[in-house]
């Protein structure tokens, strides 16, 4: 069973082909890695999957639905959530509000009952609050609940981005370099954390990462991208021994 499939997607920016005829297959409940040198087109793939860009050609099938060219917010509603390479939290809002906002899309109240705080709205809001608190507990962020998101240490900000993405109730979670800027200890914790949330929230994960240790330690399947082209796929061992991969990474030793 696969949760996400891309059928030969290509993304061109003017004369530049950032991603070329890429076909991914993310198994349900799998943790899949996406690696490649800088500028290989990894983030562009996320942007296509989440509707930020529409692929120039090719289709994206998520959970049996064709989501190619669908609007971002609808894709999220369908069950894909992401984090960003350069953290994009709601900086001036509290940690709790960051997570509460991610529940807004599932709120079935109109603006009038929200402002009038009807009993029905208050019930729903109470539910969201409880759910958000629980999520902050699960992700170890509860002690920062009332702090401004921008005041968190870097590693916690990355975690909050994941918590916020989880709050949208995704079936597929896209992580763009979640270990960037973390120290080795934090990176190892992150590996465990990714596995934990996969099991606890019953979802599939596609992650971009430069820390090879993290990728090799957590991913069941890895795609390697170079200049927008998929040059290899396989399990960590196969990837590590693939001559093409070694060549692409020559001089980009990590």
């Amino acid at each position: 069973m696969s949760i996400l499939r891309t059928d030969s997607i290509t993304m061109k920016f003017g004369g530049l082909t950032a991603v070329s005829e890429l076909s991914l297959n993310i198994p349900t409940n799998g943790i899949v890695g996406l690696i490649g040198p800088n500028g290989a087109g990894k983030t562009t793939i996320f942007n296509m999957i989440t509707g930020v860009y529409t692929p120039t050609t090719g289709n994206i099938i998520f959970d049996k639905i064709d989501i190619t060219g669908m609007k971002s917010h609808l894709i999220t509603k369908n069950g894909i959530a992401r984090t960003f390479q350069n953290i994009r939290l709601f900086k001036d809002l509290t940690v709790l509000d960051n997570v509460m906002i991610a529940n807004h899309l599932r709120l079935k109240s109109n603006i009038i009952s929200s402002v009038l705080r009807t009993p029905d709205y208050r019930k729903k809001e109470g539910h969201i609050l409880k759910k958000s608190i629980l999520l902050l507990e699960q992700t170890g962020l509860i002690e920062y609940k009332d702090d401004k998101a921008s005041s968190l240490p870097y590693g916690k900000q990355r975690k909050l981005e994941i918590a916020r993405a989880l709050a949208t109730e995704p079936k597929l979670l896209l992580l763009d370099e979640p270990a960037a800027g973390m120290n080795p200890q934090e990176s190892i914790e992150l590996m465990e954390f990714v596995k934990e949330i996969r099991d606890a929230f019953d979802l599939s994960v596609l992650m971009i990462e430069h820390h090879m240790q993290v990728i090799m330690g957590v991913c069941e399947k890895i795609y390697v991208l170079d200049y927008g082209v998929n040059i290899a796929e396989g399990n960590p061992e196969e990837i590590q021994n693939n001559p093409k991969v070694i060549e692409a990474y020559l001089g980009v030793d990590e």
């Binding site: 960003f84 509460m100 807004h104 599932r106 603006i111 969201i128």
Partner: protein
Amino acid sequence: MLNKNNLIKIGLIMVTGIVLAILNATLGRYQLRILNLAGIYIVLGLSLNLINGFTGLFSLGHAGFMAVGAYASALLTMSPAQKSVNFFVKPIVPFLANIEIGFLPAIIIGGVVAAIVGAVLAAPILRLKDDYLAIATLGFGEIIRVVFTNTQSLTNGALGLKGLPSYTNTGYTWTIVIITIAFMFSLRRSSYGKAFMAIREDEIAAESMGIDLFKHKLLAFTIGSFFAGVGGALLAHLMGTIDPLMFRFLMTFNILLIVVLGGIGSISGTIISAIIVTISMEWLRFLDGPIDLGFAVIHSVPGMRMVLFSLLLMIVILYYQHGLMGQDEITLEFVKEKLKRFKKKEA
């Protein structure tokens, strides 16, 4: 729901009511006018604060939506006789000629019509970002004004409308002020208010959290326009006379000044700054006339006040971008915190 917080809120409203009743009974006509004006500017400031401050949509067309509310309500409250006196160049369109309704429904209709115009104008341009949005909305205000100048049989054109019933009084104005304030606090606390703020903070992240940008921006703009229309209706029935020139960019500028001074995004900041700006606009009126410095007399320079306010706006934006309150609010916690610090200093 009579918990402590609600009791305090009710208490606050009652105290405000009593203070206003006392003011209403003791102040002279001129001061009462200023009291009403301050209230109207609170409503207008809060409505722009919703669009600019909560949602981060830099809109410069507010005066236009006020004009819509002002005209819509005025055409509904004026007596048929008064209308026929006004429309001597060209008769008024028949369906408005004989309508005369009460003030409250006229205010609400004024707000609704402004909201509809706001939504229709904003829908095609909400995709624009920052400066582009500002420029496009700046166009709105002017479009509305020019349309009103040229629809003689609907608005009486450049002649404007005279002799509106002077319905606006402390009771109407401040009841609406209190409702508006309560609305804004409640909105901001709600899931929708948070979604608005998420859009302000980071559109891309907000959209990836499943927030429909178009829908929410349109919602914020429409509600903001509604309150602008309500403010316009109150202002019209305070002034007694309206014409298209009243609603040129200068009006938007005044409201923007209030929001920026108060701290973009802060409800209490906007309220305080609306009061300060209204009172000082009146108090500084002497600046527009000749000024006797004792040793020399400066000739009267009309518009001197606006120069001063423009300078003030520039200084705030250059050195004190947070305004009075930043995005903070004067809440009970805020007051307790300040008191604690004050006591510590004493000790």
